[in-house]
Symmetry: C2
Subunit: 217 residues, 2 copies
């Protein structure tokens, strides 16, 4: 598959691109093309020791969206809204994967849901109707993802309205060793999934002290 990771210069982007580059063509997208290229080059240099499908590419968001079949939105909700308003039409018929969780921190971490109830439901309104949006990967700690030697663990709750795309995304998630993808149903369920991320941050704030993820047993 051709997978673009918008905002791929961040920690989650690194974790995903390193893991998916083994089997897929990965494109790092950034607002600045030069930054995307620089990041991709540094990823390729680090990945030299692993066998990967082909070198990771760096492109502007616009190019990355056009090139890819699957587009991961590794950007903050506030930054995504203007991006989708500008480039939304390019997402025609693409599969879009959203790990987006809008949050604010006051004394505690709060889930800052848009009026639609979740980031995924708001994004659906900004994307063309031909686009198949799947939400997931909200609770995998980005800090763990970026360290290739670190054993990841936990469950990734996935939801979306297109069955085929959801199965494909679940497979992609499970290519990352030790992650298990669980189908929670339609995109509507994202309202119940996204709040788990600020909850996990509050657990860290009030007791656990370490990065947590979730498992369903």
């Amino acid at each position: 598959m051709k997978i673009a990771i918008l905002g791929g210069t961040g920690r989650l982007g690194k974790g995903l691109s390193y893991r998916w580059a083994k089997n897929h063509e990965v494109i790092i997208g950034s607002r600045e093309e030069s930054k995307a290229i620089r990041t991709a080059d540094s990823f390729n240099a680090e990945l030299g020791k692993f066998s990967i499908k082909r070198p990771i590419d760096g492109m502007s968001h616009r190019q990355a969206i056009q090139r890819a079949e699957i587009i991961v939105l590794s950007l903050q909700f506030d930054h995504l809204v203007p991006l989708l308003k500008e480039l939304g039409s390019l997402f025609d018929s693409k599969i879009v994967f959203s790990p987006v969780v809008p949050m604010i921190k006051k004394e505690i971490f709060q889930f800052a849901a848009p009026p639609e109830g979740s980031a995924a439901l708001a994004l659906r309104n900004l994307l063309p109707s031909s686009c198949r949006l799947i939400a997931g990967l909200h609770t995998v700690p980005a800090a763990g993802m970026k360290d290739l030697d670190k054993k990841l663990e936990g469950d990734v709750v996935v939801c979306g309205d297109d069955r085929e795309s959801k199965i494909l995304i679940q497979k992609l998630v499970e290519e990352i060793e030790n992650l298990r993808a669980l189908d929670a149903g339609p995109l509507e369920v994202s309202k119940m999934v996204e709040p788990i991320t600020p909850l996990i941050l509050n657990l860290k704030l009030f007791g656990s002290k370490k990065d947590l993820t979730i498992k369903f047993i």
Copy 2:
């Protein structure tokens, strides 16, 4: 401690009273006193083989609230609202433990949050300000709780604004073997905890087929 379980004739009530009766004085509360007494009698008959603190009592909601130090709200949100409007003042200075999650089922399970954002935050407004409200136990499957031979497992996320009562409730939870209580901070966080229950039900609906609970790792 003297613990009243309002709505204690249900499955969760059975699970909790069986487990807490070993160390505490447990009172089953019901709208109908006679039903509460009948249920308590049948629990005591079943518990005969275990060593318990003292026989479980059955009382009307009113009596149970007056008698107890800790009151567990094992009732549906819709039933609690009129109950608290009627008997709210009796909760003066009590510790109240809410596992309440308002839900509706259409094609999927939905979190039916009141305007306050969670059941716990709505209940806080209905209770006297001297009452110390702690939310938790939302995700322990009641079906597992009622079977004393079944090994329970999982994490119980607890939140509330009174530190001392929260510690006490965490201890009570951890008296139930294999359950771990995690402090998620103030009662406000209940907005992020309660939606996990309908999420778990959706996971069962769309794939897992078995009762799930959560664990933070």
